[in-house]
C-alpha cells in the first residue's frame, strides 16, 4: 500500500475523519492484495487466491489477484465493486507499524494522503476532548484481528510447506486472442493433498484448514473471470 504512513496521534490528527474503503479504486497499480487464511473462502468467491513469494525475503504470502500482470488492477480500471474486500483493504488507510526492536509492539499508522481521510465527511477518530472514538476503537480492533490472522496464515503456510503441499504453477490466460503467461504463482498440490496420510489429513481438518485449502483450489476458476473482465474492458 502506498506510503507515506505516519503514526496516528491525537494532537496531529484530532480533526480527521475517516471513510470506509468500498472498492479497489485507490490501488490502481496494485495487482495483488494480501489475504489471511481466514479470508480464503470469501475472497476466493471473488478473486483467484494464490501464493506468491515476497521478493525481499522469498517467503510465501497468500494473496488475492485483482490483475493478470504487475501494475494492473482490473477492478480499479473497470470500476467494478468486488463482493468481498480483503481485510487489508478494509483497514486501509490505517496500518500497524512495528516498533523497532520490540517484538509484538505496534503503533497505529495512517496514510493521510488517502482520499479516504477527510476533515468534513466521515467518522471522527477522536472526540473533542481528544479521546478515541468508538469508531477508532473498532478500527484498531480490526487491525489487531487482521494481524493475528496473518500470524496464523504464516503458520498455515509453514505447515503446507512441511507437508510438501505447495507447487509452482504457471497459467496461460487468453484475452481477446492475446495469450499471456502468468508466472511466479504457487498453489496447493491437489495430488499431494490426496496422498496425505489419514493422520496428516485429520490434523488439517482438526485445525480447520480444509475449507481454506479447497477454496484456494476452486478460486483458480476466477482467473478466467478476471480475464473476461479484462476483455470486456478492452472492448468498451
Amino acid at each position: 500500500m502506498s506510503l507515506p504512513v505516519v503514526p496516528l496521534h491525537k494532537d496531529v490528527h484530532g480533526a480527521l475523519k475517516l471513510n470506509a474503503s468500498r472498492n479497489l479504486n485507490e490501488f490502481a497499480s496494485q495487482h495483488m492484495f494480501p489475504v489471511s487464511v481466514h479470508e480464503f473462502v470469501r475472497a476466493g468467491a471473488e478473486f483467484p487466491v494464490v501464493f506468491v513469494k515476497d521478493a525481499a525475503s522469498g517467503q510465501f504470502r497468500s494473496v488475492a489477484l485483482a490483475g493478470l500482470m504487475p501494475n494492473e488492477n482490473i477492478y480499479a480500471v473497470a470500476n467494478v465493486l468486488p463482493t468481498y474486500l480483503p481485510l487489508a483493504v478494509q483497514n486501509y488507510p490505517m496500518v500497524l507499524i512495528a516498533e523497532a526492536n520490540v517484538e509484538n509492539q505496534f503503533a497505529i499508522g495512517i496514510n493521510t494522503n488517502s482520499p479516504l481521510v477527510q476533515t468534513e465527511s466521515g467518522e471522527a477518530l477522536f472526540t473533542e476532548t481528544g479521546e478515541e472514538t468508538t469508531y477508532l476503537q473498532q478500527r484498531k480492533q480490526l487491525l489487531i484481528r487482521s494481524y493475528e490472522q496473518l500470524q496464523i496464515t504464516d503458520a498455515f503456510i509453514q505447515l503446507l510447506q512441511q507437508l510438501d503441499l505447495l507447487m509452482a504453477q504457471s497459467f496461460t490466460v487468453e484475452v481477446n486472442g492475446e495469450v499471456a503467461n502468468i508466472n511466479g504463482i504457487y498453489i496447493i498440490n491437489e495430488q499431494k493433498l490426496n496422498e496425505l496420510s489419514v493422520e496428516q489429513f485429520e490434523d488439517l481438518r482438526r485445525r480447520g484448514f480444509l475449507p481454506s485449502i479447497y477454496s484456494q483450489l476452486t478460486s483458480l476458476h476466477q482467473l478466467s473471470r478476471l480475464a473476461s473482465l479484462k476483455a470486456n474492458l478492452r472492448q468498451e
Binding site: K53, D54, A55, A56, S57, G58, Q161, D164, L166, Y186
Partner: protein, 519 residues
C-alpha cells in the same frame, strides 16, 4: 565362489570420507533393512587437512541429490556462492598500471546458438574480455552480485554456481546427514593395523577399542597417509611433480577488515613468482593460502610473499600460516582387490581449479553407481574404474598445466620451467598445436566423463590470449551479424540482471535469516 556384497567399511572421515559415505549409502539404500551396510571409522585424534574450500557446480547437484537442504548448508558451513575463478597476473601486465586478469566462469557459453569465439578472435568485440563476450556472468561477478535472488528455490539460480565452504563444518554436516538420514554407521576409533590375505585383499582392520572390523569392500579415505591402498596393498604412487611443480602450501584464515566488507562471488587466484595465492571469501572469514613449488622458492620467502599479499588486502595483525606438504600425482591403481581409494589417498594436484573435492565427489558418485553386487564382478568393475579415474586425473593435470604453459610470464625460473615443453604432457601439446590454427571443438573432448570440457578450455585459452590464428579462415565464419546481436544481448541482459540481483553478502545474510524455499 561369488558372494553378494553386503557391507562397506570406509576408513577415514574428512570431507572425502563423508562424501563417499553419503553417495554409497544413498545409492545402496543403507537406511533400509535390505540395503548394504555402510560404516565409517575415523579417529578423533587424527586431524583432517580441511583446507578444501572451493567447489564446482557438480557439488550443487550432489548436495541436492543427497537430499541436503541448501539453506542448512549455507547456514551451517559459512557458505558463500562461487560463480567463477578470477585469475589475476597469470600473464604479464597489459600495461604499466594494469594487471592481467580473466574469469573462468561457471556459465558456459551458449555454443548451441552460435560460438562467438571466432568472431571475438577476429576483433568483432574490440577489447572486450572473452568472458564478457560470451556471458553475462563476468559482469555480475565484477558488480559483486549473487547468482540468485530470494524468490529462487533451493539449488536454483539465474546463473550457474558452486560454493565456497568451511571444510571442517562441511564434514560435520555430511556426518550428521549420513548418520541420521542415510543410515551410515559411525565408529570413532583408531585403526592400528590393516590386515591382508594371501591374495592381497584386505581382510580386516585392527582398531584400538572395537577389535577387528571386517567388510566386503574397504574404502581408503585416510588422506596422504594412504593406510590401505598404499601401506597395506602396496599400490605405488605415480608422482606428477615433473609436470605440476607446486607441492607446498601455506594456508591461513583471516578475518574481514569490517563486517560489511563485500564478499567476492568468485575465488581469486593471483599468480606469484613461484606459484599462486587463493583467496576465498566465506560468510564469516576469508580463507587464503600460497601454493608454491619448493624447488623454486623457500618456505621463508613463501611466507613473505603471502604476508605481502595479505597486507595488500587490508589484513593487519599477525599471520600464522599452516604449512601443508602435498604429494602431487595419483596411485597406479585406485581400486585394488577389495580396496578402493577416494580422497587424497587416491591422488591430488594443486587446487587451482578446485579439483580436490571435484574429483572425489565425481569418483564417489561413479563408485556408488557401479558398486559391485557380487564379489565376482569386482575385477571387471575395478579395471573400468581404474581406467576412467586414471583418465580423469590425466585430463585434470592437462588442464591445470594449461594455465601455466600458455602464460607469457618470464619473471622467474618457476615460470620459465613451467613454459618448457619438457614438462608438458604430450596430449596437451598435441591439442595446443591444433588450436594454434583451429578452434577447439567438442570433438577434442570425446570422453563423456571428462571433468573439464571445451567450455572450460575456451575460458582459459582466450582469457590468457591464446593466439589461435584464423586469418585465412574467415570464410568459415559468416555469422558476424548474429554474433553482434548476441554480444549486444549479453550486455543488455547483464544490465537487467544487475537491477534484480542482490549484493552477495546481502544475499547470504537474507538466506541465513529467512531461508530458501524448496520450491
Amino acid at each position: 565362489m561369488s558372494q553378494p556384497i553386503r557391507n562397506v567399511l570406509i576408513v577415514g572421515g574428512g570431507t572425502a570420507g563423508w562424501l563417499a559415505a553419503c553417495h554409497l549409502a544413498k545409492k545402496l539404500s543403507s537406511n533400509s533393512a535390505q540395503g548394504i551396510a555402510v560404516t565409517l571409522i575415523e579417529s578423533p585424534k587424527i586431524p583432517t587437512i580441511g583446507v578444501g574450500e572451493g567447489t564446482v557446480p557438480a557439488m550443487r547437484q550432489s548436495l541436492q541429490y543427497l537430499g541436503i537442504s541448501e539453506t542448512e548448508f549455507v547456514r551451517e558451513c559459512d557458505v558463500t556462492f562461487k560463480q567463477s575463478i578470477k585469475f589475476v597476473d597469470w600473464c604479464k601486465p597489459l600495461s604499466a598500471n594494469s594487471q592481467h586478469s580473466y574469469h573462468h566462469l561457471f556459465d558456459y557459453p551458449d555454443l548451441a546458438s552460435l560460438d562467438i569465439t571466432p568472431y571475438w578472435l577476429q576483433g568483432l568485440a574490440g577489447d572486450l574480455p572473452y568472458a564478457d563476450a560470451v556471458s553475462v556472468q563476468s559482469r555480475l561477478c565484477d558488480a559483486g552480485l549473487g547468482p540468485k535472488n530470494m524468490t529462487h528455490a533451493e539449488y536454483a539460480g539465474i546463473t550457474n554456481y558452486a560454493y565456497h565452504l568451511d571444510a571442517a563444518k562441511f564434514a560435520l554436516l555430511l556426518t550428521r546427514h549420513a548418520t541420521t538420514k542415510l543410515g551410515v554407521k559411525h565408529i570413532k576409533d583408531l585403526v592400528e593395523q590393516v590386515l591382508c590375505d594371501q591374495d592381497g585383499n584386505i581382510s580386516g582392520v585392527v582398531t584400538a577399542e572395537n577389535g577387528v572390523l571386517t567388510a566386503d569392500v574397504y574404502i581408503d579415505c585416510t588422506g596422504f597417509r594412504a593406510l590401505l591402498i598404499g601401506d597395506a596393498c602396496q599400490v605405488p604412487f605415480i608422482s606428477k611433480s615433473d609436470v605440476l611443480f607446486a607441492d607446498s602450501a601455506l594456508a591461513v584464515q583471516v578475518p574481514y577488515a569490517d563486517v560489511n566488507q563485500a564478499i567476492p562471488c568468485f575465488t581469486v587466484s593471483t599468480a606469484q613468482e613461484a606459484g599462486w595465492i587463493w583467496d576465498i571469501g566465506l560468510s564469516t572469514r576469508r580463507g587464503t593460502g600460497y601454493v608454491y613449488s619448493s624447488r623454486h622458492t623457500s618456505d621463508e620467502r613463501a611466507e613473505q610473499v603471502l604476508t605481502q599479499y595479505l597486507r595488500g588486502t587490508q589484513v593487519t595483525g599477525s599471520i600464522e600460516a599452516r604449512k601443508i606438504e602435498m604429494q602431487i600425482g595419483y596411485r597406479e591403481k585406485f581400486w585394488h582387490g577389495n580396496c578402493i581409494a577416494l580422497g587424497l589417498s587416491q591422488g591430488f594436484v594443486e587446487p587451482l581449479e578446485a579439483t580436490g573435492l571435484l574429483v572425489y565427489d565425481a569418483t564417489a558418485r561413479m563408485l556408488a553407481e557401479q558398486f559391485p553386487s557380487h564379489t565376482a564382478l569386482m575385477p571387471a568393475l575395478a579395471q573400468r574404474f581404474n581406467q576412467r579415474v586414471r583418465l580423469a586425473w590425466d585430463r585434470v593435470i592437462d588442464f591445470i598445466k594449461l594455465h601455466y604453459f600458455i602464460s607469457n610470464r618470464d619473471d622467474s625460473q618457476f615460470w620459465l620451467d613451467n613454459r618448457d615443453v619438457a614438462g608438458c604432457p604430450t596430449s596437451l601439446l598435441d591439442n595446443l598445436a591444433v588450436w594454434r590454427q583451429q578452434l577447439p571443438s567438442a570433438y577434442d573432448f570425446h570422453s563423456k566423463l571428462e571433468i573439464f570440457n571445451l567450455e572450460n578450455y575456451l575460458y582459459v585459452l582466450y582469457g590468457m590470449q591464446f593466439p589461435t590464428d584464423l586469418t585465412d579462415q574467415q570464410f568459415r565464419f559468416p555469422d558476424s551479424a548474429k554474433a553482434k546481436q548476441m554480444l549486444a544481448f549479453y550486455q543488455h541482459k547483464a544490465q537487467q540482471l544487475q537491477a534484480q540481483l542482490l549484493p552477495h553478502r546481502e544475499l547470504i545474510a537474507r538466506i541465513k535469516h529467512y531461508g530458501l524455499s524448496k520450491i
